[in-house]
């Protein structure tokens, strides 16, 4: 009872505060400056999206166009797995999936569009990608922070969001398989609505260190229904599978 009333009082106090700050009675979040795009300016991809395909990065199944060295690494790791050795998936120790695995959407993605930025939140470990659409470029190559999700800039080409991502760490994954890549990996995406309820990401992965040609993968996502929600996922909560990157890798 006490909780109920204190909740009501807090709600009333917050409404009053919001009214004071905005000068008018709040009628929803649309009035918060900068939080809403001009209607119809660009397609609205906001919402919760669930992957349609499985959790292998390439739904079509083929391996990337590996050079000899990276193909050998992959084959060794697969043989080790076949022998029952534990070949670590980097996420086993709760490191983020990073790019490009982020876009597999193991668990749903949530897209938020605000002025100058498209934000994608992945439920898996609450990862966040910020795609800057304010016209900025990438930081200089020798200064850029090397991160799990990289540095993403986007621009609208008609109805398509074109995204370039650089500055990705060399140890991010594609999926739970032993596919690896070098630190020269970059990702280009063309993201568009096929219809109001289907989002498409055409993902082209380029890696001169590991691939002989760009690798194009197409993934699709279904708009979440009325009950769709993003759940919490804290991998460190109760992980009994602690192993660090580099451990449990197949012996060369």
């Amino acid at each position: 009872m006490r909780n109920k009333w204190s909740g009501l009082l807090r709600g009333a106090a917050m409404a009053l505060l919001a009214t004071t700050l905005l000068g008018t009675a709040p009628q929803g979040f649309a009035q918060v400056p900068g939080s809403k795009l001009k209607e119809g300016a660009v397609p609205d991809m906001s919402g919760i999206w669930e992957r349609i395909e499985g959790i292998r990065f390439n739904p079509a199944g083929q391996l990337p166009p590996y050079n000899a060295e990276y193909r050998r690494r992959y084959d060794l790791a697969m043989e080790a797995r076949q022998r029952g050795e534990r070949v670590a998936d980097p996420t086993s120790g709760c490191l983020p999936q990073g790019m490009p695995r982020f876009m597999v959407a193991s668990y749903p993605l949530e897209v938020l569009q605000t002025k100058g930025q498209v934000t994608i939140i992945a439920e898996w470990s609450s990862q966040v990608r910020r795609i800057f659409t304010d016209g900025r470029g990438h930081p200089p190559a020798d200064e850029i922070d090397i991160t799990f999700n990289g540095h993403s800039i986007g621009r609208w080409e008609g109805q398509t969001l074109v995204v370039e991502t650089v500055g990705i760490r060399g140890d991010t994954s594609f999926d739970a398989s032993p596919l690896t890549h070098s630190d020269q990996l970059t990702v280009s995406e063309r993201i568009y609505l096929k219809d109001p309820n289907i989002l498409v990401a055409e993902i082209t992965v380029t890696d001169p260190g590991a691939f002989t040609a760009p690798w194009k993968v197409v993934r699709t996502y279904r708009r979440g229904g009325p009950d769709a929600r993003i759940m919490e996922y804290v991998c460190e909560e109760n992980n009994r599978e602690i192993f660090l990157p580099g451990q449990n890798q197949p012996k060369p």
């Binding site: 499985g54 959790i55 797995r81 029952g84 050795e85 534990r86 070949v87 670590a88 998936d89 996420t91 086993s92 709760c94 193991s106 668990y107 439920e123 898996w124 739970a176 759940m231 919490e232 996922y233 804290v234 991998c235 909560e237 109760n238 992980n239 009994r240 599978e241």
Partner: protein, 131 residues
């Protein structure tokens, strides 16, 4: 009905290793062990749920098994709840056991105290009385 059950069992075997965030190679996916015991604890947690199950062996000794299940984000969307397993529940759980002989395994399917069967991605709706 039998077909449906078989399918759910098959799906159970496939769904967990594929969706897990780590390799399940420590479990022997060619072996099945049926455990009858009493739930000590159900950890509704990420990256995996865990059922701690006390199983009394033939000599009367109680052995605590650790049974790894899917993430709440996975099984929660298939109808599991935080209270699907409660301490004290007498249940039957089938697992793929650990290869190294430790008392642990990956969850395949279960029979709950009220007779409901849980198999991977399928759980029948709870009877009204259980709510």
């Amino acid at each position: 009905m039998t077909k449906k059950l078989l399918l759910s069992v098959l799906l159970a075997g496939i769904a967990f290793p594929v969706l897990a965030h780590h390799s399940f190679s420590m479990f022997d996916d060619k072996k099945e062990v049926v455990l009858k015991g009493e739930v000590k604890e159900f950890q509704w947690s990420n990256p995996h749920t865990w059922i701690q199950l006390n199983v009394t062996d033939a000599s009367g000794k109680v052995v605590e098994w650790s049974i790894e299940g899917g993430s709440p984000n996975l099984v929660g969307r298939q109808g599991w709840k935080r209270n699907t397993f409660k301490p004290g529940d007498k249940v039957e759980i089938t697992v793929h056991p650990m290869r190294d002989g430790q008392p642990g395994g990956s969850f395949m399917r279960a029979v709950l105290p009220d007779g409901r069967r849980l198999g991977g991605d399928q759980i029948p709706a709870a009877p009204a009385a259980a709510k």
